[in-house]
Symmetry: C2
Subunit: 152 residues, 2 copies
DNA sequence: CGAGTGAGTCCGTCAAATGGACCCACCTGG
DNA sequence: CCAGGTGGGTCCATTTGACGGACTCACTCG
């Protein structure tokens, strides 16, 4: 299929969607961010087609979300390590987790996230940094910063 | 293309990805949640193919994220209104906004979100509800709730 | 009476996802 | 010393969806 690209849109949601809104990307990133680093490990964990995975990893390297590192020389072997930018994506995945658990699962959660130091369950929540309150789409609007009268 | 489905996965990220990780879904939801309700309005705002939009809206109705309502009888006309489940997705979009603005935009933000009552800028942030602290993927692990010794 | 509106459907084309085989350099066990 | 992994891919045929664009059909408005 021809895929429409959004990476040149002004809207930050569109730019993020261009990177992340692909079936496999969130799962590939989940594996990378929770510690899997090697091509074959990820491929087997996700049962993803090898060429699709190769292409997704190449994209992640290209946009600077992971680094491809040579971890041995003979024969050359590579792995994939998240950058700061990649780790920042965990916020998005964490909130996807929270949404999926609350709204897309029938039974009580079969898997949970926890802090490996304290053992405590982790429950991501989204707030507005300025007010500390939850987001409310019905009260939210967009505006151009160069001309606040224009509603984007 | 054949698309692999994740809606039966245990992992909440996979379930959410199955719904949202499609190029158009975040943008369609952005429009719906920020107030656009009608097929033609959304189609023109996004410049999305009409049959693709029809299919995406049908999916959103099917999973209960929006409701299709008849708003006039002669001739029958329909619009699409987010449900509570749909409004809950705003958290995900808000965090995608934040990521895109911080990591995918070069120039200072051209568009911002604000509260239509107070006029204040909105900056979504993700915290752990229990500790109030930001998420840290390097400290995060998964476990099965039925058997905490199994690392998922 | 003709144009426009709203919410779609239908069609041909093109490209990406999929399953599966293949590759090749090195390492390991017997 | 040779067979069988292992790691990180590439290549191929098939299928399916995205895309652009035209068409529909029941009204309503001027």
């Amino acid at each position: 299929m021809r895929r429409t690209r959004f990476d040149d849109h002004q809207c930050p949601i569109a730019r993020t969607a261009d990177l992340l809104a692909d079936w496999w990307m969130p799962l590939v990133l989940r594996e990378l961010l929770l510690g899997r680093r090697r091509f074959n490990d990820i491929q087997q964990a996700l049962e993803i087609n090898r060429s699709v995975l190769a292409q997704r990893l190449a994209r992640l390297v290209e946009v600077g979300v992971v680094e491809r590192r040579r971890y041995q020389d003979h024969p050359p072997r590579y792995d994939f390590e998240p950058t700061d930018k990649g780790r920042a994506l965990w916020d998005v995945l964490g909130v996807m987790w929270q949404f999926g658990e609350r709204w897309l699962s029938d039974e009580p959660a079969a898997i949970e996230m926890y802090d490996r130091r304290t053992g405590e369950r982790i429950e991501p929540a989204v707030i507005d940094r300025n007010t500390g309150r939850p987001l409310d789409p019905t009260a939210t609007r967009r505006r151009r910063t160069d001309d606040p009268s224009v509603i984007a």
